[in-house]
Point group: C2
């Protein structure tokens, strides 16, 4: 209920608009009344984050090959939090205790990894690595299209400027998706090579 109203406010005006006063108004209530149900604004943000976790797609694990399931998970994970970038720094350091839906996602992922042959003690660091990449990419997805305009400093950075031009020329404007795709391909390829070695060793 409160979580739904919070999501409404956020979707309507972004995180800048997500203020206690606005949330209260969306609920038809005075701001102070909120504190009978919530101990802080931060609390509400955690509820929102938990809610978003249900939109992360773990359906591939256990049914598709590891690389396919992992790619699907990573794509949906990034898409969800690219639209909620201000939550990323919160999630990245949030304990899973008291976050059952987040934990459920981790369980599905861990089970999928174990099924695929990852030794149990390797799962946590590998998942953390993928998550770090996903979080960083979710932030990057909000970069403006002109983030790499070198402008008047172009003369001092010939190679980089050429790289920007070549990239833009080959595919139009800058879109962060190219970076995400390149990174996801590389990381999954690197991890799969390691998994192959582990299976044989």
């Amino acid at each position: 209920m409160i979580t739904d109203a919070a999501l409404d406010v956020i979707e309507h005006g972004g995180y800048d608009a997500f203020t206690v006063a606005k949330l209260a108004r969306a609920l038809g209530v005075a701001p102070s009344a909120l504190y009978n149900h919530v101990s802080s604004k931060q609390d509400v943000l955690l509820w929102v984050q938990e809610d978003l976790m249900t939109k992360v797609d773990v359906s591939g694990f256990g049914v598709e090959p590891w690389a396919v399931a992992t790619r699907r998970w990573a794509l949906s994970y990034r898409d969800v939090f690219a639209r909620h970038a201000p939550l990323v720094p919160v999630i990245a350091v949030m304990p899973v205790a008291g976050a059952p839906r987040t934990l459920a996602v981790y369980e599905a992922v861990a089970a999928g990894f174990a099924d695929a042959g990852w030794p149990i003690e390797t799962i946590v660091p590998v998942v953390v690595a993928l998550e770090s990449f996903i979080f960083g990419s979710a932030l990057d997805a909000n970069a403006p299209a002109d983030i790499f305009d070198t402008a008047d400093l172009a003369g001092g950075s010939p190679v980089f400027t050429a790289a920007i031009d070549a990239f833009a020329g080959s595919g139009g404007d800058y879109t962060p998706d190219a970076g995400f795709d390149a990174g996801l391909d590389a990381m999954i390829a690197g991890l799969e090579a390691r998994l192959d070695r582990l299976r044989k060793g």
Copy 2:
């Protein structure tokens, strides 16, 4: 000058303590006087970010093999911003125009990549991919040691809980470094495989 004072305040009390009033006091000046030199607090944060960029190690590019130089760059990049996590969401979307030191880092990196044989149009997405991973890892580095305590929900997540235990058992407490190392190894391995293919094709 202002930048130095800002870094002092931040290093002393963290980003919560970095307030206009504190910054002014550190400079021996009234808060309002600051606005004769600065157009907003955000401005100062950008200066700080620029300053931090000089601590990123690009010395390997052009002299060491690509993988070695890239690893050194990534390690120092993450270390710098792990201690300045609140800046990460700012950097991730900050245009390089007007940030000469940031641009200088990009130039060194791009030149190193080009030297190593990366086709010019592939450089931007690959650098973005690595950066995304680095930013995410910098955030993750600030996670509390008990972030993966499943606590009373352990029964519902047997595989993940086992993975946590196995990981903790094999190396003591949770440290984000394991995730960073795993991801960096995988990504560099994946990228190097692609580079080999590009060189031959």
